[in-house]
């Protein structure tokens, strides 16, 4: 390790960790993307420092590829954010935390034993695909008006259950 690279590595690690905190704690879709970009900055700085430590240019070349992939990610992510925003008129990421098909087991609900499920099912088993065209039933306690209403002031999102750590 050359004499002066420790501080650069420390700054890179700190930026990475700050971006990680932002990725977990922010609830705005766009700010989650921005936090990922901050993590990428930390990784770029670390790559450059490693390249300088070893006196070669591989770190700089890798950073250019990271820049390319970050640009692609920003373009795709922002178009996804726009199309998600058009559905709910909200950038809250918690709205999308309960996406699943209605007959699959939920992560926060206890799974019923297999026998009772089989006994209860009268109809023949159908392929588990969401019907095209219709509005999928997202969850039991999830307001369906959320997906159909377009007025942002009428939307009442449920507060997430894991908020009080």
């Amino acid at each position: 390790m050359t004499a002066d690279s420790g501080c650069y590595l420390a700054v890179g690690a700190a930026l990475f960790v700050l971006g990680g905190i932002g990725f977990v704690t922010r609830r705005n879709l766009i700010l989650i993307f921005l936090s990922v970009e901050l993590m990428l900055h930390g990784v770029s700085l670390t790559l450059l420092t490693f390249g300088r430590m070893h006196n070669n240019l591989e770190g700089q070349s890798f950073t250019i590829f990271m820049l390319t992939v970050a640009a692609c990610e920003a373009a795709l992510g922002l178009s996804l954010v726009l199309s998600l925003y058009q559905r709910t008129k909200s950038l809250d990421v918690d709205i999308w935390s309960k996406l699943s098909e209605p007959d699959l087991p939920k992560w926060d609900k206890p799974v019923q034993p297999l026998e009772s499920r089989v006994l209860r099912e009268e109809r023949p088993a159908s392929p588990r695909l969401t019907k095209a065209g219709g509005l999928p039933e997202i969850d039991d306690d999830f307001p369906v008006e959320l997906a159909t209403s377009t007025d942002p002031r009428k939307i009442l999102t449920p507060s997430p259950p894991d908020d009080d750590y």
Partner: protein
């Protein structure tokens, strides 16, 4: 300072930074949150100061602390800011600080490219989307951080582990030429010093990029093309009205 004193100051400043982050992300008064953000960045800067500082003369040191301080402070403020537009602007400032550090690490082309791509293109696009999507002003989900304590504890554990590792590297005996490497790392082609005469010249970087990584450059160009087409395909379009 002795080794144990350095360790003590390092972990003490990390603990102060964690407390500052907790204050900054919690729903308290604005003054407490600003105080927490400053405490967090001061703790991070103090932790960075426990490593061997930048070489060179006084100008070098001043520039390093300016760039590192602005990057860390604006990173903390970006993560904890309640206004998305301000968060994007703080991110632009963090990008500028990071690009200054790139410049000091003998990568002037990358610094310029990162400023152009991030501060020029990505930030503008983010601000554009924020202003498209949040026309009704403040929204409640920007005001409540999700699981702040657990994420701060996990992230700070990771940071402490990384810094402890870097300190162990710093204490390792330095080889006569280049860094001290294990046997496996010494045979790794990415660890071999290249025979470029001018390390920070654009010519050397271009030779590496278009010589060693020519196929990867082509694949990256294809990736950009595919991502552009995909973004156009995903983006919603409406015949009438706003978003």
């Amino acid at each position: 300072m002795s080794d144990s004193a350095v360790q003590g100051v390092l972990y003490g400043s990390l603990a102060a930074g964690a407390i500052g982050m907790w204050l900054a992300t919690s729903p308290r008064t604005a003054a407490l949150r600003v105080l927490g953000a400053f405490l967090a960045s001061a703790g991070l800067i103090a932790a960075v100061a426990m490593f061997s500082g930048p070489g060179g003369d006084v100008t070098n040191k001043i520039l390093f602390w300016l760039f590192a301080g602005s990057a860390l402070l604006s990173g903390v403020l970006m993560v904890t800011s309640r206004e998305p537009v301000y968060a994007a602007l703080w991110f632009a400032l963090a990008t500028l600080g990071t690009c200054g550090l790139f410049m000091m690490q003998a990568a002037p082309f990358l610094a310029a490219a990162t400023i152009i791509v991030y501060a020029g293109a990505i930030i503008v696009t983010f601000l554009f989307v924020i202003m498209l999507a949040q026309q009704q002003g403040r929204s409640f989900y920007d005001y409540r951080a999700r699981t702040p304590i657990m994420s701060i504890v996990a992230s700070w554990l990771m940071l402490a582990a990384l810094l402890w590792n870097f300190q162990a590297w710093q204490k390792a005996p330095m080889a006569a030429a280049g860094p001290a490497l294990t046997a496996e790392a010494a045979t790794n082609p990415f660890s071999q010093p290249s025979d470029v005469d001018q390390f920070d010249s654009l010519r050397a970087l271009g030779l590496s990029l278009f010589g060693d990584y020519l196929y990867a450059v082509e694949i990256a160009g294809t990736l950009l093309l595919v991502a552009g087409i995909g973004a156009i395909a995903i983006a919603p379009r409406r015949a009438e009205g706003t978003l």
